[in-house]
């Protein structure tokens, strides 16, 4: 299930990516956050209770939307644009 709902700008070129190894599709101009949350319900697990998180501020302040890219880089999903073929993985978080 998706968290976000697209209301406008839906006729953009599709971009294929993988989310935790599963094929997924976003649109050109999507942030990673949009691409993920229009086909899934969360972005990461929290650091002390592995609670599901899906971002909060969308303006690069809360640091609660980090995802991992194939090359090992950890990026803020809200401020990183999706690219064709990206392999994005979500970290499960940790329990204290």
């Amino acid at each position: 299930m998706a968290l976000f709902k697209r209301l406008a700008e839906t006729r953009r070129p599709a971009l294929a990516f993988t989310l935790d190894g599963q094929p997924a599709e976003g649109l050109l101009g999507d942030t990673l956050l949009t691409a993920i949350l229009t086909c899934a319900e969360h972005l990461r697990g929290s650091d002390f209770s592995a609670e599901r998180r899906a971002g909060f501020c969308l303006m690069g302040a809360c640091q609660d939307c980090w995802v991992r890219l194939e090359d090992g880089r950890r990026v803020r999903a809200c401020s990183t644009l999706l690219e064709e073929g990206q392999a994005i993985s979500r970290e499960p978080g940790r329990r204290a």
Binding site: L3, F4, K5, R6, L7, A8, E9, T10, R12, L28, G29, D30, T31, T34, L37, T38, E41, H42, S46, D47, F48, S49, E51, R52, R53, A54, G55, F56, C57, L58, M59, G60, A61, C62, Q63, D64, R73, R74, C78, S79, L81, A96
Partner: protein, 447 residues
């Protein structure tokens, strides 16, 4: 010659840059975002096609003018988008662009770092589907998305009605608007709000439009709980409950002051903003000779005032380096800023801070979403005798996580003040620390 640097390409920073350029100075404009404009005038990605009118409504003209100015400036000044200023010391800013780190020396700097939502957490606020009001607006404006299928808007402040209106107008299902402020407060505020009749009229219009389109608006309604396990399933307030799958909430805005802090600016308590803010004179000069402040980052006044303050701060820079400036223009800007101040007081009356929040927050409520510190843990530290916010942070890690207290810091101070029986002012402010946002490992600064 070291450049004059402006940090932040929102309405304040862009106007400051234009003003300097008009007087023959080529500034360096640094901004964290890809396309500038700030948050309220944030631009959609280049391949999106909605019109300015669709994106910014009544503010379309102003937004377009700001964007146009930035586009004209971009090729003639030293414009650095996608660049984070993560540290400042000794007339030098440390920046990061992608994975490239640099050190930027400045002769003077105008800090226009803007604001984020002011958050007072409620149980369930870390669930997927819960966002700040600003976030909900960005999802729509920047990405053409709603944060859910059935969205509730809660909290208070002018943004509450604006974003709910924008959602409903864009075709989202708005299940309810919960305004913690009672209607009587908004009536009391009318005399002061009438000072900016156009802004007042827009606020009343959004409110009336929502009602006319069947959106339930509850006043004096305080969000008590967000329900859900893996994601949002509903909200509760008073004796009421309502099913929804997304919630946007905030109580007005808070200034981003970390950079001013690192630059050594003195702070003073500001009652109107209920916050410690970097001190500035009517021109935007801070307590540090080379540092100027403009826009919401130095106190919340809104986008129009940010433009005036940006221009005024740039004129102050020009005066201070011995350039001739138009004194009539300066008087006019300062007059406009003073007028906005009165309106701002009216807004505070219309949307008062919910002072009962701290006493009502349950012990088990997660206060700090990074470090997952509960209200009860903060209260326990206070009960041990600590009441200064940085000391409390050292004891229980509240505000010590990745966001550096941007989301929880003000709420934590409220909890500490209430528990210790001190004023919110006495509790103090969280000190800024470099890096002001997380950096990747292995960043090397190129000379």
């Amino acid at each position: 010659m070291k450049p004059i640097v402006i940090v932040g390409a929102g309405p304040a920073g862009i106007t400051a840059a234009r003003t300097l350029l008009e007087h023959g100075i080529t500034p360096c404009l640094i901004d964290e975002s890809l396309r500038g404009g700030g948050q309220i005038y944030r631009r959609q990605p280049v391949n999106f096609q909605r019109s300015a009118k669709q994106l910014y409504g009544f503010e379309a003209g102003k937004a377009q003018a700001v964007h146009c100015t930035l586009d004209e400036l971009a090729s003639v000044i030293d414009y650095r988008p996608e660049t984070l200023v993560w540290n400042a010391e000794d007339a030098r800013l440390d920046t990061l662009t992608g994975d490239r780190a640099e050190s930027v020396e400045f002769s003077r700097v105008i800090v226009a770092t803007g604001a984020t939502d002011r958050i007072l957490p409620v149980p369930g606020w870390t669930l997927p589907g819960v966002y700040s009001l600003g976030a909900a607006q960005i999802a729509l404006k920047y990405q053409g998305c709603a944060i859910g299928e059935r969205v509730a808007f809660c909290g208070s402040g002018p943004l509450l009605y604006l974003v709910a209106y924008q959602y409903a107008k864009a075709g989202a299902k708005v299940v309810a608007v919960l305004d913690s402020a009672p209607f009587s407060a908004q009536c009391r505020a009318l005399p002061a709000l009438l000072g900016q009749p156009l802004t007042l009229a827009k606020g009343l219009y959004y409110r009336a439009w929502l009602t006319a389109h069947g959106v339930a608006v509850h006043q004096g309604a305080t969000l008590r709980q967000i329900d859900g396990t893996q994601r949002v399933s509903g909200i509760r307030w008073g004796e009421h409950s309502l099913a929804c799958d997304a919630v946007a909430f905030a109580h007005a805005l808070r200034s981003e002051t970390q950079l001013a802090d690192l630059l050594g600016c003195e702070f003073a308590w500001n009652d109107l903003n209920r916050a410690w803010l970097p001190q500035r004179d009517s021109a935007g000069r801070s307590s540090v000779a080379q540092v100027y402040l403009a826009g919401d980052g130095a106190g919340i006044m809104g986008a129009d005032a940010a433009q005036w303050a940006g221009e005024r701060a740039a004129l102050a820079v020009l005066e201070d380096i011995g350039r001739g400036v138009d004194q009539r223009r300066i008087r006019r800007l300062e007059q406009q800023l003073a007028n906005i101040q009165r309106f701002r007081q009216g807004l505070e009356t219309a949307f008062p801070f919910p002072e009962q929040w701290a006493a009502q927050a349950p012990d088990e409520l997660t206060l700090c979403r990074c470090e997952e510190v509960s209200v009860g843990e903060v209260r326990a530290v206070v009960d041990e005798g600590h009441w200064e916010i940085n000391r409390v942070k050292a004891h229980c890690r509240v505000g010590m996580g990745r966001c550096q207290g941007r989301m929880c810091g003000l709420a934590a101070a409220e909890i500490v003040a209430e528990r210790s029986g001190r004023s919110i002012e006495q509790v103090g402010r969280l000190r800024g620390q470099a890096p002001i946002k997380p950096l990747p490992f292995g960043v090397q600064v190129q000379p």
